[in-house]
Amino acid sequence: MSTYGTPGAGPRPGVTVHDPTTLPSDDNVDPYTFCVELAGSRWFLQKGKMIAYYGTIDFNGVGHGRLDRIVRTSFHSPLHASDWVVAEGTGRMLLADRAFDVNSYDLEEGNLTIRSGNLLAFQPSLSLKQSIVPGFLTLIGTGKFVAVSNGPVVFMEPPLRVDPQALVGWADCPSPCHHYDHGYMTGVLGGLRALTGLGGASGEEHQFEFVGAGTVLLQSSESLMPEQATGVTPQQAGVPGGGGSGAHGQGTGAPRLPGQLGDLQRRFGL
């Protein structure tokens, strides 16, 4: 019945026109758009990322009473409920986020940790937990999820040192540790910057260091996508960012973001 398309009119030749029969199922339409097929199934998505859909699909805020059970099994992170919706129904829906690159990942009894702002959608068969690294979320189990990145994701293997702002996430390898370039910090200019506060911090002074076996995901970004609230961490001694009695003098200050130098200068005696 789709008779529209007079020869010579419409989009130029070579441009693909999609309909529900040609849209891919749980795959990319192009590098920036992902198509999810729903057949009575459900997906979790970040709010505001659905751009169009065919079929009959309901969107419910996480926390909607009827969804208590699924939320209980999939969300182990005290995520702010209003940031996520559950899509359920039958049809095909397109997901996209500010024209960033979109990629899907399949986990099989695996785990992957990702920057919270980069996670777009995931299947309820995966469970979502807060990473021990502030601002990151860990997905565990078997299933598919969709993540965005500024430019295509670059996959690297450890050993590797990464500018915190370029880090999208990592899989299978142990959590990263901080690495400070002592030479850069203590050089004349580094010292000058530490004294005057001019110039701020950049990836050349401080990196995340990855060792061991696994995969590290990178993007070209120094300007981060806004972070999604990962929720508060329990106020408990020994929990990073928890602000418990174990925290060393950070008091009630704002949680330090990865990439900030914080009390580094003091540690180097600058």
Binding site: T3, H18, D19, G48, A99
Partner: protein, 210 residues
């Protein structure tokens, strides 16, 4: 003659003819070109009202000359559409350039908030010639047919053509906990027979909570 120099740069070869383009979108040219400011929204009373509503956002320039003129705007992706007597409706802020001979007019198409600046203005382009429309990221073309109606987030809507009925739906399928979500979600529904262009990004509109 419109062609894409890259996915984000439009090249127009001119031999004394004219194109209408978004003001300030010329990035380079060779040959001889003359520029003229046009007021947007088409002619007549409707155009005047439109100009009042849309303000400077709709300013259009006419470029006339011989040579090649290159257009681009904030690294938006560019999509070419050929018109043969039919009509293209395009979200006004997404229109980059049209052949000089095409007729344009603008209407306010809804969502509350003409005054808040987050409503939708749609420009209609009619006639025979080429149109360059912009999208944030490459546009996805979706076909609408009687058995496959389509629902679009207003923030991702770019353009449509064909025999389509467009309606705005508010919060029909979107439920949140009371106090969460901050209001209703608007969606745009298309029925009939035609094509819809959506972009992989969302403008800030009052709708689009999903």
């Amino acid at each position: 003659m419109f062609r894409l120099q890259s996915s984000k740069v439009l090249a127009v070869e001119m031999t004394g003819d004219a194109v209408k383009a978004k003001n300030g979108s010329m990035v380079a040219y060779d040959g001889d070109m003359a520029f003229k400011k046009l007021t947007g929204g088409g002619d007549g009373i409707r155009g005047m009202v439109t100009r009042r509503l849309t303000g400077e956002q709709m300013t259009v320039m006419e470029v006339r000359g011989r040579g090649i003129c290159w257009f681009a705007d904030r690294a938006s992706d560019i999509n070419l559409v050929g018109l043969q007597g039919d009509t293209l409706s395009v979200e006004s802020s997404n229109l980059l350039a049209t052949d000089g001979g095409l007729r344009t007019g603008t209407v306010f198409t809804g969502l509350r908030g003409a005054s808040q600046g987050n409503g939708l203005f749609t420009t209609t382009v009619e006639g025979h010639g080429q149109v360059a429309i912009m999208s944030d990221g490459p546009a996805v073309l979706l076909r609408v047919s009687p058995q496959y109606p389509l629902t679009v987030d207003p923030g991702a809507y770019v353009a449509h053509q064909g025999n389509l009925r467009r309606s705005l739906q508010s919060g029909v399928t979107f439920r949140t906990l009371l106090g969460e979500g901050g209001g209703e979600a608007f969606q745009m529904r298309f029925e009939g027979d035609g094509l819809v262009y959506v972009q992989p990004s969302e403008r800030n509109t009052i709708g689009g909570d999903v």
